[in-house]
Subunit: 310 residues, 2 copies
């Protein structure tokens, strides 16, 4: 295991996933992708709704799609709630909202499971949290939640990144025991800036070069900067893994491992791409001090309340 | 037929395709899509390499794809020539080159069939010019040619537009008797910012609102501005026609009518999207005074030499 000593206010600790140093460095993944149920060592995978074949696919590719995880009536309910939130002046003015630079529309609202009882209900839904518990092999809490609106007619995308790289460096998640779900609230076409993942990229960790500036999150929510992979690394990874574009009907879900290299293009079509995005972390992987940032990001981006979802 | 009188220095004339006026206005197409051979009225389609079924598809959809129009050896030849041109400091400094704002790389080189004997040969190739003559039913000349490089890692796309709208307003092409071919010199994936067309959109003309500023072309080659369709019009057209994304191997060609509503997204993948783009106009549709601009664009963008390709 390659480890780098990290000096914090509290003690020296070793870092299995060094990043934001002088050079870009690749480290083999030290953690399972599908975790054995806590207290049952050796057993791969806790009980839950995901089939054995789908779990094996998730382990191999780093993602799992579920067609129509929620039905059309539920899509309508959540879309209406999304519309209500993004058009609420109080929500818009809230620091938890991110504004699209070109159109000045609301692009994302963070901590949406605390702002909205309707989205809180979705997080608790067994179809959602049950899969997270099964993949992570334990109780889980919400590290981050948000709704995203990628409006048509020119909304920009997100450049390539591994979420874990940021969550480890800036939020202090120690290990790769975190899974995200993106539930589509509009149809994802091949033309409106859908999620792209490099399948299998979750099996190695790309530590990025460059120190984290203070309050980096204010910039990086709009445009990735520190924690950005080099052209050389992205070319090597894309050549090795390929790039998969996700399309699908509203109500479909994509689960993906915290260390998948992913991104999305812009959206010039008239069709907005809206989704609700929930990040579940294992209660056994609760955030500690950031591994490569002066201070943790605000709690609405990276939770410090580790109460399990029930 | 809806016509609008246009006052020029020479005489008053009627305009079958009004645009750049105070309001956006839709006009039914006044011209054939596949033209009868000149001198043989009533016969639809001149002789040539395109099959009757493919011609019917072109008439209906406004486009026609030809898998591997040129072979791998030819792709290698034209790619090498493209690389030579975009890395030549003399070409880079030429006014016919367009520089990508973010990366400062060469994005396009215009009039490439005059700059390069190799691309001049491609224009004269019967597989290329033969199809243009067949679709347009006459001899043809090159209204515009260019090579495009859409580099990876963030090259921006082109917003929605009809080429004919610009060529009519700013270059003075009187009628829709013009066809473009884009020959891919790299693979077009579903992820690297390929051409998107609204199939069938070529059957009506969207006249855009707003007056043309002087030297508009200097801005519009980088980012579309005057001549830009409204959100309402694009939504209506996309709902009616759908959006088709073109993918395919290097060497494949997409022929499309001058009035197709088309655009492309950005490209954050490591894979550049390069092509050679040739616009053939009928010698019977030679450019006149611009219909809605103070002066014609430079000849390297809109030719005033109507010598047929032989």
């Amino acid at each position: 295991m390659t480890t780098t000593p990290v000096r914090t206010e509290h003690a020296e600790r070793t870092d299995p996933y060094p990043t934001r140093g002088p050079r870009e460095v690749t480290t083999a993944r030290q953690d399972p992708v599908v975790w054995p149920a806590s207290g049952t060592p050796g057993r791969s995978g806790a009980p839950g709704p995901v089939s054995r074949a789908d779990l094996a696919g998730f382990e191999r590719d780093g993602f799992l799609t579920v067609d129509r995880l929620i039905g059309p009536d539920e899509v309508a309910l959540y879309r209406a709630e999304l519309e209500r939130l993004v058009s609420d002046p109080g929500v818009r003015a809230d620091e938890r909202s991110v504004i699209e630079p070109t159109s000045q529309d609301v692009r994302s609202v963070f901590e949406v499971h605390r702002i909205s009882e309707i989205f809180a209900g979705l997080v608790r839904d067994e179809r959602v949290v049950g899969r997270a518990r099964q993949i992570l092999g334990s109780d889980v809490y919400v590290h981050q939640s948000r709704i995203n609106v990628k409006p048509g007619f020119g909304a920009s995308g997100f450049y390539w990144h591994s979420d874990f790289e940021t969550w480890h460096a800036e939020d202090g998640l120690p290990n790769m025991r975190t899974v995200s779900v993106s539930i589509a609230l509009t149809e994802n076409y091949d033309t409106n800036g859908g999620l792209m993942i490099m399948p299998g990229s979750h099996r190695s960790f790309l530590g990025c070069a460059g120190e984290t500036p203070r309050d980096n999150y204010k910039q990086s929510l709009k445009m990735q900067d520190a924690g950005t992979p080099s052209h050389e690394a992205l070319t090597r990874m894309a050549d090795e893994h390929g790039i998969r574009l996700f399309t699908g009907r509203a109500g479909s879900a994509t689960w993906f491992d915290c260390n998948c290299m992913h991104g999305s293009g812009d959206n010039i079509t008239p069709y907005p791409r809206s989704n609700v995005f929930i990040v579940f972390n294992s209660v056994e992987n609760a955030a500690v001090e950031p591994f490569a940032a002066p201070a943790p990001r605000p709690e609405f981006i990276g939770a410090r309340d580790f109460t399990p979802v029930r």
